[in-house]
Subunit: 406 residues, 2 copies
């Protein structure tokens, strides 16, 4: 009988996050304010609590995971590392293919890893309410879940078209006690302004961000803050538990350093989660190929320049040093909605600029064909985003076969 | 940090199914043919392969799980046993609440446990194609998944209203290579007859069963058979791996015999899976309260008589000895569609008739309130069916608190 699940005992869950900023060669390029000067941390104080801003700018290598955050993570973590034996057999490859299964979280994605941490830090800072935006609903449901656990009020601005098309995610947020409204809404000046001009707009992530930020910063009590699900340093930091667990599990499986590490990449948090602990090994001399996979429809790392650009469409955020297709770039409506982001997390961008990672882009049809192979071999039906990583893993496994690598 | 997941190592997966028919006191009441005489096994040979019919009538206590079936089950099994620590804390109960998490299967329910076994036995018997019916799609997707793994053609008749309302389940079946058609269809005489009389009917499970059985038995090649997802003895047998794993996991957790075992019950396979190995202990002297929970809207075990009735609406199946509300009973359209069955598995019915289990019924609102408590404490949003078991578990935990039991 095959053994395909490598389970990390709960007592061995990682107790620190890994901060790539400590190890990246050269200085980190800071965010810039509207005046073109480096942003001072306290300038973000109305948007994020100071303890999260401290984490955002920290260059300490290891950051302790608070015990109460660990308790919440332990509802579903450690997540299984699985070996894709059926896919290996189908491909007749000598490669050993492992994958980290983040689908076991209550909201169904990797997003709750940072959601519970962000909710905890906000609560600790005395915040009563978090606001955020969501597209298809993965991030909105994750933050709703976390706010429910920790006892925070939660308001989610969900892009109108998704709000109408994906009632299930909306229901999940409501079960977890969050208020979820279609964006643009009448609840903010930004929303009302858009509705006045375009009463029938399907909405956009850019508009929803504006509404969520306005909601947080305009709260007279000062007890509201905004929460973001990707891109920023502290979000990526919280996701590194994925790769840290994977390293321990590979050791249990009797494996040494992997030859290749692959993750799909949109804003950067999923890819950073699995890869940053391996980038650390690479910086310290290990030979590992690390591949972020993006859609050809949104080829940020493979086609964009590395420059300063806004994080949002409307140009309200600070300027971030990143690979970008331009903040007004609108990708084709591919199914992998989570990978349709014009920019890239600054830490991922800097790793790419330093040649530490080797980005690739795949087109949707090839990804879907790979997802079908996966569904017919490994049994599970993956998300469109995930299919990008699978397509690349299949290519790498075929290459290993051609080269007769072991 | 709390430890809430009890993981059974893959090497300790149960290697035999438990057959309650071997231990039930008194003779098993056999199915009857249209003539009122006990059905001879070979009379079912056009519907099921003989190796499955042998299992259906077997009274051996332990039946080996074929190695290749174990290999398929190991794609997701052993399933975790989890302790509901957050719910316990919320209820401030001295009770220790454990639950078996069958959501980890690729199709998302317990149904694949029997689907892979049935597909394997059919393949071994030389069958090329399986037909079945499905309502909301859990069973249809499970059998499509299994047929894909084992290499069988698969045709699923999906009740029209669900086919239109639940496109996701239909897509899952298609990914796994099954043909899924709305029922009533033009593919069978039964379907055409219904469509002629009622061209706009939303369909029913009864009609879909008729179509699936006709499709299998009318195949001139003799290489098609029909597959059922609950009620019959062999289906319940395959599900006992759930309870057998749970027993091993409770031992790992340092627990002795549980005081109470609870499962929601519709046709009977989920409840049988978790409870039959504990009913075995009860028959052999252990003190355990075993509670099947059904909806008040379909109170088969709590209100129905124990008698002979047809398994389907149209009266095409053999007569089964079971608790039943009458084969023409149409339950209210409650959300727990999987519990809307007029009858009850004969083995579960006989266990109830002998006083080995203590059925209860719960109404939908109470179940939904319990599901909300569960979602807010344990984090996961459960199925409407599952919420019936949760409602009962909460009641039992409150009782334990009142009685200050440990």
């Amino acid at each position: 009988m095959p053994f395909n699940k490598i389970i990390l005992p709960e007592k061995d869950i990682p107790r620190q996050w890994y901060n790539l900023a400590a190890d990246l060669p050269g200085p980190i390029q800071p965010p810039l304010g509207p005046d073109g000067q480096a942003l001072k941390p306290e300038m973000l104080a109305k948007v994020f609590p100071m303890n999260i801003i401290d984490q955002e700018v920290s260059i300490r290598r290891w950051i302790d995971i608070p015990e109460e955050v660990l308790e919440m993570l332990a509802l579903w973590r450690p997540a299984p590392l699985r070996r894709a034996l059926a896919l290996e057999e189908y491909l007749k490859t000598p490669a050993r293919i492992y994958y980290k299964d983040e689908s076991v979280s209550p909201a169904g994605s990797h997003k709750p890893n940072t959601a519970v941490a962000q909710a905890w830090y906000n609560k600790k800072f005395g915040i009563k309410k978090l606001t955020t935006e969501t597209g298809a609903g993965q991030w909105g449901s994750a933050i709703a879940f976390a706010c429910n656990l920790i006892g925070l009020e939660c308001k989610v601005y969900m892009v109108r078209i998704s709000f109408d098309q994906k009632p299930m995610r909306k229901t999940m947020m409501q079960v977890w006690g969050a208020k979820c409204v279609a964006s643009p809404s009448h609840d903010t000046a930004a929303g009302r302004e858009v509705l006045r001009k375009m009463p029938h707009t399907p909405g956009s992530l850019g508009i929803a961000i504006s509404e969520a930020v306005e909601d947080a910063v305009s709260d007279k009590s000062g007890n509201s803050r905004y929460s973001l699900g990707s891109v920023l340093n502290h979000v990526l930091l919280h996701q590194t538990i994925i790769g840290l667990e994977a390293k321990k599990q590979l050791k249990i499986a009797g494996e040494k350093t992997p030859d290749v590490v692959i993750g799909c990449v949109g804003g950067g948090s999923n890819f950073a989660g699995v890869s940053f602990p391996f980038i650390c090994d690479k910086i310290h001399g290990k030979k590992i190929e690390i591949i972020p996979v993006e859609p050809t429809a949104c080829p940020t790392l493979t086609r964009g320049p590395f420059t300063y650009d806004f994080g949002d469409t409307a140009g309200l955020t600070p300027l971030l040093a990143m690979y970008t297709l331009g903040h007004d770039f609108v990708p084709e409506p591919i199914h992998a909605g989570g990978l349709r982001y014009h920019g890239m997390a600054p830490l991922v961008s800097q790793a790419a600029a330093k040649g530490l990672i080797n980005p690739r882009s795949y087109d949707q049809i090839k990804c879907y064909e790979s997802a079908m192979i996966w569904g017919k071999t490994e049994g599970t039906i993956c998300a469109p985003e995930t299919s990008h990583a699978i397509a690349c893993a299949i290519d790498e496994a075929k290459k290993a076969k051609k080269e007769s690598r072991k």
